[in-house]
Structures are given as C-alpha cells and as structure tokens.
C-alpha cells in the first residue's frame, strides 16, 4: 500500500515538473531568446576594435593643418571626452548650431584639421573592405561615456527649438507608405521580422533604445552610429534621404536623446 502511494506521488510530481517545464519553454519568447543571444555575444564585442582604432585616429595628426582632434571641444571643454556623449546633442556657441557627436566631429575636422565640409562628411559609414574615420571616432568617444547618466538639456532656445523640430519629425506622417517614426515606435509589441521594436513614447523603452546605440551589427560586421540608425529608419519608411549631420537628423537625435535622460549610457552595444 505504502509503496503504491509513493509511486503515485512520484508520478504526480514528475507530471507537475513536466508541466512546469513546458510552461517555462513557452514563456521564453523570441524576444528573450534574442536577448540571450546578445548577452552571449557581449563578452567579445568587436566594437572594441573600432574603439581602439578611434582612439588612435583621435590622437593622429591629419588634414591640411596636420593636427590631431585632441583639442576638439565636445561640450565639456577642449579635449574632454569622458562623459561628453551623455550630454549631446547640445548648442555650441563657436559654430552657432546645435550639434550631435557626428556633426561636432565634422566641425572639429574642419576647424582643427582644415578639411572642407565635403571632405569631412565623405564616407561616414564603413562597409565591407572599407574602413572609415567617423564610425571609429564615434565608437571611441561613446565608449568613454559608458556608465554616465544621460543628461541632455534644452535650456538654450536653439536646443528647445531642436527638441520641438525632432518631436514634429517623429510624429510626421509622409512618404509613399504614409509612415511616421511613430507608426512603429509609439505602439507596444510591434515587430519587424524577428526584431522587437521599442515604443519610444515610453520612458523605459526610449532609454533602453537610445543608450544602446552605437552598436556592432553582427549581420553587417560593422559598428553602426546613430546617424546611420536614423538614415536607415528613413530609408525603411521610404522617406527622402536623410542627409548626414543635417539639421533634421540632429533635431531628431536631440529629441530621442533627451527622452533617454536619467538612464546610464551603455554603448557601443552589440546587436544581431
């Protein structure tokens, strides 16, 4: 009798265990699996190779003026890199413009190194067999802000204006698809292919998204900057081409960056 009970109890336990196991497997959604994949890769993020190359480029003399970028003012004073990205974009009195990191680098390469605007803006994004300056510098500078809390301000009228322009662009519907950024990024649980899209009107999502760019894209084998991210979003919406470091791109960046305020910056990250 005792033995039968014991066996029955054991069988019941086993059944419970199996049921729990089944539920667990179901709960592990595609989203979580992608997260696990990212974590597995994070240990050997090849973005570190870009960071090392960027640091060398930052210190290397180049251009007609044969100067390095070490005196470039990223907002915290000439040559201060640590924590600078957590406060960008911002207004710069010397150029009279609101600038994000990439437009600021264009400005510095023109003023310090003597490049023309066309030269400084040429080939900002790397590709197969093509190594460029911009993405390496961005990887180096953003890595120096890892752990710094996002703190983008709109105190200056130009910054406040850029925020409003960025917000307008985010919600503006247009193009052959009648799309806006908000079409995909203001709704919960929307996906493109396998990828979950952040709802950027929610604080937590906005923070998580912004603080994980730039990122090494495994599928492309490249570090992708925020300007690249926006340009590709525009392409996916079939919008007119977003010009590199244009006023519109900087305004949209400032809008998204300010919405991430309060979160620690955590990039260059790694993405599928």
């Amino acid at each position: 009798m005792n033995r039968t009970w014991e066996a029955a109890a054991r069988a019941a336990c086993a059944a419970l265990f199996l049921a729990a196991g089944g539920a667990l497997a179901q709960e592990r959604t595609a989203v979580e699996e992608i997260e696990r994949y990212r974590q597995a890769l994070a240990d050997g993020n090849p973005a570190e190779l870009w960071e090392a190359r960027g640091e060398a480029l930052w210190k290397q003399k180049a251009g007609p003026k044969n100067a390095s970028l070490e005196k470039c003012d990223l907002g915290l004073g000439p040559g201060v890199v640590k924590g600078a990205y957590a406060e960008l974009p911002r207004y710069f009195a010397d150029s009279g413009k609101v600038e994000d990191l990439e437009s600021r680098l264009v400005t510095c390469r023109m003023t310090l190194q003597g490049l023309t605007a066309a030269e400084a803006k040429k080939d900002p994004f790397g590709g197969s067999g093509k190594k460029v300056v911009n993405d390496a510098l961005v990887a180096f500078i953003t890595a120096e802000s890892r752990g710094h809390v996002m703190n983008v301000k709109t105190d200056h009228p130009k910054e406040a204006e850029a925020f409003e322009i960025g917000k307008t662009i985010f919600f503006h519907r247009g193009g052959p698809y009648d799309f806006a950024c908000a079409t995909c990024h203001a709704v919960d649980n929307i996906r493109i292919r396998l990828q979950d899209l952040p709802n950027l009107t929610k604080k937590a999502d906005a923070q998580r998204a912004y603080t994980s760019w730039p990122a090494y894209r495994v599928s492309q084998g490249e570090v992708r900057t925020f300007q690249w991210r926006l340009e590709d979003c525009f392409r996916q919406q079939r919008f007119p081409h977003l010009e590199f470091t244009s006023e519109a791109s900087v305004a949209l960046t400032l809008f998204l960056a300010k919405n991430a305020n309060g979160a620690p910056f955590n990039a260059p990250a790694i993405k599928r």
Partner: protein, 103 residues
C-alpha cells in the same frame, strides 16, 4: 597591415583565461559583390597562442569562422605578470602578432 588584436588575459581560479578579438574580414570566397564578381577568399588559417614562448594553443581555422573573430580559451601554468602572445596567419600570407600581460 592589419589592425591590432585586442587581448585580455586574467587569472580565473588556477587557470589563465584569455580572450582575443581579431580584426579580419574573413571572406569565405563564395560571396559576390554588387557587380556579380566573386569576392576572393581571405581568412585566417592558423592561430597560435604562446605563454612565455611555449605554445599553449594551436588552431587551424577556415572560412566558417565569423568576421572579426572572438576567441576565448583557458590554459594552466600561467601566473600574473607573464606574457601571452597570439599570432594569426591568413591565406594571403598576412600575419599579425600581439602580446598581453596576464593580470
């Protein structure tokens, strides 16, 4: 000339854990460019790791290894301050050696 590797070597219990990032295109030789021409194969074939001059790892690699490869391994017998050096050779004869100190 290839970009430098990024090598981290640290003690993990009584073993040394080495993590290496290599900058390499790792072209398989089967991909085509936008003009439809085959991109020539270009990949790392041999990797060796030495500890104070003694080989602790020797590997043969092929085109199945990803672009910008990451290699992680452990070996016994190292101590903080020792040197670990990594060398790769690719199918075009390019070679790169970098060194790190165990921390």
């Amino acid at each position: 000339m290839a970009d430098p590797m990024k090598i981290r070597a640290s003690m993990s219990g009584d073993k040394v854990e080495v993590k290496v990032l290599m900058s390499h295109d790792m072209e398989t030789g089967t991909r085509k460019n936008s003009k439809g021409e085959t991109i020539p194969a270009h990949f790392i074939q041999h990797v060796t790791a030495s500890h104070n001059g003694k080989v602790v790892l020797s590997a043969q690699w092929g085109p199945a290894v990803s672009k910008n490869p990451f290699l992680s391994f452990k070996f016994a017998g190292g101590k903080p301050g020792d040197k670990v050096s990594i060398t790769w050779t690719d199918n075009k004869g390019d070679k790169r050696t970098d060194e790190a100190t165990i921390s």
